[in-house]
């Protein structure tokens, strides 16, 4: 997969050559089936209007087929990595929570069920250690701490 044809279209990356081919496939499948169905069904189904409605339904199934064919032919242009949060990231989240999300708060204020949930997730200690800075209840303390770790 050459990377020099990559573009961001409608929220994700595509390869322009694959995009053109996919659009052609999508158009061919949907229109081919639509026209074929219309031709065959008119005269076979009683009302012409229903024949067209069924042809449309088949045409839409055709567009799904076109999508399926494109999905088989062209692999996604995404780099998917299995991600495991590491401890350093967690500390960074704590800092962001403290500075942008209105403080950390104290474990002692939590209902027991929430504490139990944190313990099960192995996050109790993390939030427990994050506490002292918010004990002082001053505006400068969190800022100083953030400056210190940055």
């Amino acid at each position: 997969m050459a990377d020099d044809n990559l573009y961001e279209v409608w929220g994700d990356t595509v390869d322009s050559r694959h995009l053109i081919a996919s659009i052609a496939i999508g158009a061919a499948c949907s229109l081919g089936i639509f026209f074929l169905a219309e031709h065959l069904l008119t005269g076979w189904v009683e009302s012409a209007q229903m024949a067209r409605a069924y042809a449309m339904l088949l045409g839409i199934l055709g567009s799904l087929l076109g999508g399926g064919v494109s999905a088989c032919l062209f692999k996604p242009k995404r780099h998917v990595v299995e991600h495991v949060a590491d401890p350093a990231w967690r500390q960074q989240v704590i800092e962001e929570l403290r500075s942008e999300y209105g403080g950390i708060g104290q474990l002692s204020e939590l209902p027991p069920e929430v504490r139990a949930e944190l313990r099960e997730l192995g996050l109790e200690q993390l939030f427990d250690e994050a506490e002292p800075a918010s004990h002082t209840r001053t505006v400068t303390a969190p800022a100083a701490l953030k400056g210190g770790t940055a």
Partner: protein
């Protein structure tokens, strides 16, 4: 008796189809509600499915989608659809803490609770509002004009959107007159053009050298997929145990509030109610999990209420959801119509009673929960992995292009296609550059069909 049984069976079957189809669509990130719910519901209407079946298909689809959209949002860090965007911040914090499965479970449990309370509440509010229905129907052209202006002002474009309504409405009228001269009367093509506008605009931009240079990327996007941890036995964890008591309480309360406020933008309600709850919780972890449960609950309840209340009380699409994704429930000519001159409606409003809306609404919600909830609880990781590794964006675009071609040709031949292209390009660019969003564009369409004839009559 047998007829009633048949009706219920049909409704249940359509509900199952809606829930399965939209559970799958919810997994595809960026699959907007309007672009997917509106055309498929329209198809169901036009194929002649009985009223109850149309309704359960739409509602089960919407409810299921707003559960499975939690999968890409929590595990991939990309919003599952438009309604998932206000959940990104909390979802990303929880993902980086290494507990994305908690984000996922809280979100879908909030959705279950909210969906269950929203249907009866929406029906109740609709019944309370119904006495004003006749007055509103008679004033419909002016109500739509006012609604279009208000929704435009509340969009990102503010005054630009309000003023852009004028040329946008004019283009629709011009196109209608033109196709009318050739004996072609279109409506679906306008809906589809508006809904798919951003894609059409993006494809045109690709053809222009300067824009293409801006869209160029040097490497594929990287998605980090979080691992999934299953910590319960069986298939159906109790949502009331996944949320703690206070979270369930907040979810119930916000679902109730958002069921009543049906005229506001669902995204705005989701943001605001999340903030209200967040401001009342001191501990950061508890705040994250509560806000994310509440917000996803609100995505369900606003959607349900915004579709149901106008439908039951007035039969007129007087909310952003009713004018957008739920539009085919109101207006799908030749089967469902809203008459411009008189405000006379012939749609689900006339075909189902308030009691039937309640019964079939609950049926749809229960079906959606039975399908989407255990699915997202148990298969989230595998589903997210499959979609991100196997379904290329090219394939998604190819499917939508096929959809545009078939629907356009079906409704109006070459003229239908040209209308989709024109409206899509205009609407897509207006959204991209001034924030004239899809909801405002739909209201613009209704202004053109409903308000403009009344304005012209006034001056004639």
């Amino acid at each position: 008796m047998e007829a009633l049984f048949d009706q219920i069976l049909m409704a249940a079957l359509m509900g199952v189809i809606g829930a399965v189809v939209f559970s799958a669509i919810g997994l595809i990130s960026g699959s907007d509600e309007t672009t997917t719910l509106a055309p498929l519901t329209l198809l169901v209407v036009l194929l002649g499915v009985p009223a109850a079946g149309v309704f359960t298909f739409f509602l089960a689809g919407a409810v299921a989608k707003h559960m499975t959209h939690a999968v890409p949002t929590a595990l991939l860090g990309i919003p599952g659809d438009t309604m998932a965007t206000p959940l990104m911040r909390e979802a990303n914090f929880l993902r980086n803490l290494g507990v994305p499965h908690i984000a996922l479970r809280k979100m879908i449990s909030g959705a279950v609770i909210a969906a269950l309370v929203a249907v009866p509440l929406a029906v109740l509010f609709a019944v309370l509002l119904a006495p004003f229905g006749d007055g509103i129907k008679q004033a419909a052209p002016w109500v739509f004009l006012a609604a279009a202006t208000t929704i435009a002002w509340f969009s990102a474009g503010r005054w630009a959107s309000v003023l852009a309504l004028l040329p946008f409405v004019l283009v629709i009228i011009a196109l209608q007159t033109f196709t009318g001269q050739h004996g072609v009367k279109l409506s679906v093509s306008y809906f589809l053009g508006i809904a798919i506008g951003p894609l059409i605009a993006a494809l045109f931009a690709m053809l222009a050298p300067a824009e293409r240079a801006r869209m160029k990327r040097s490497e594929p996007r990287t998605f980090s997929l979080s691992p999934d941890v299953k910590s319960w036995g069986g298939w159906f964890p109790n949502p009331l145990k996944v949320l703690d008591r206070r979270q369930s309480g907040w979810t119930l309360a916000t679902a109730t509030v958002s069921s009543a406020t049906f005229v506001f933008s669902p995204v705005a309600m989701t943001v605001i109610l999340g903030e209200v709850v967040g401001a009342r919780i001191k501990h950061a972890y508890h705040r994250l999990t509560s806000v994310i449960s509440v917000r996803n609950g609100v995505t369900e309840s606003t959607y349900i209420a915004e579709a149901l209340i106008p439908l039951i009380a007035f039969g007129l699409p007087l909310s952003p959801v009713a004018a957008g994704p739920a539009a085919p429930l109101f207006n799908a000519p030749p089967r469902f119509t809203v008459d411009s001159a008189t405000g006379q409606v012939n749609n689900l409003h006339n075909l189902l009673s308030a009691g039937e809306f309640l019964a079939f609404g609950m049926l749809a919600v229960v079906i959606a929960i039975l399908i989407a909830y255990p699915f997202s609880m148990n298969f989230a990781h595998r589903a997210a992995s499959f979609v991100s590794r196997r379904i290329s964006h090219e394939a998604v675009i190819a499917t939508f292009v096929g959809l545009i071609l078939v629907i356009g040709l079906w409704e109006g031949g070459l003229l239908g296609l040209l209308v989709i292209l024109t409206i899509g390009l205009l609407g897509g660019f207006l959204q991209r550059f001034i924030g004239f969003n899809i909801g405002v564009q739909f209201m613009g369409y209704y202004t053109a069909v409903l308000s403009v004839p009344a304005i012209i009559a006034l001056f004639a």
